[in-house]
């Protein structure tokens, strides 16, 4: 599973990286990421997730070949 992160998440992770673990949904993905870097826990809890250029919810079933984009709270304007 490929992961892309943006903005402040780049203080904790590489902008793009790959996970080999079996991850079924966003809750599991968040737990894996917190294990990788516990400092990102609070920020990750406020992030949205997207696959194939669309937001997904926690019930979305992730697949191994998915590219998941992790989206921190917006700060545009």
């Amino acid at each position: 599973m490929k992961i892309h992160v943006y903005a402040k998440l780049k203080d904790y992770f590489q902008p793009e990286f790959e996970l080999l673990e079996t991850i079924g949904n966003t809750d599991e993905l968040r737990a894996v990421l917190v294990k990788m870097n516990g400092g990102a826990d609070e920020l990750l809890s406020s992030c949205r997730f997207a696959v194939e250029e669309g937001f997904i919810d926690k019930d979305f079933k992730l697949k191994a070949h998915d590219t998941v984009v992790i989206i921190p709270p917006s700060s545009g304007g």
């Binding site: 406020s46 250029e53 984009v69 989206i71 709270p73 917006s74 700060s75 304007g77």
Partner: protein
């Protein structure tokens, strides 16, 4: 200002731009014979934040989703306020103090709709569009800034509270 003969439909204006925004050019094209009011909002880079001198801002976006979301916001506003024109464009990359980071233009028959729609569009872009700014301060430090914090109240990262509510 003279009336333009070719109105730029929102679909023709890229919603995310790595180039400086053409405030005057967009406004010059944003006229419609049915519109008695045109409102322009220009979000510009301030020279200070939290008491620190700002050198410049750097914006980053998840462009496919930001583009799609802004398009949807404009479509919704166009229907809700019967707008003749609704345009929004946001910068990415380095933006200097005093430069424009985001533009929203709305045109409608009467001013109340153009004002309300413009406020609605910029509020939703700021809260929802996957766009982020990094403040670069004059002392050399930097900080990702002013994230939407609505989820701490709504309990849902997809639910927002707008200033106009």
């Amino acid at each position: 200002m003279t009336q333009s003969s070719s109105y730029p439909p929102a679909a023709e204006v890229s919603h995310i731009s790595a180039e400086p925004l053409d405030l005057v050019g967009l406004l010059a094209g944003a006229h419609h014979p049915g519109a008695g009011a045109v409102v322009l909002f220009s979000g510009e880079v301030r020279n200070s934040n939290k008491g620190l001198a700002v050198d410049f801002l750097e914006y980053e976006a998840y462009i496919p989703l930001a583009t799609q979301l802004i398009k949807e916001i404009l479509e919704e506003a166009r229907g809700k306020w019967q707008l003749h024109i609704a345009i929004a464009q946001h910068r990415v990359g380095k933006v200097a103090v005093g430069d424009t980071a985001v533009i929203v233009i709305t045109a409608s028959a009467h001013r109340s709709e153009a004002y309300a729609a413009n406020r609605y569009i910029i509020d939703r872009i700021k809260h929802e569009a996957p766009i982020w700014k990094c403040e670069h301060y004059a002392d050399g430090s930097q900080e990702w800034g002013n994230n939407c914090n609505c989820h701490s109240v709504t309990g849902d990262v997809s639910k927002h509270i707008y200033e106009t509510q």
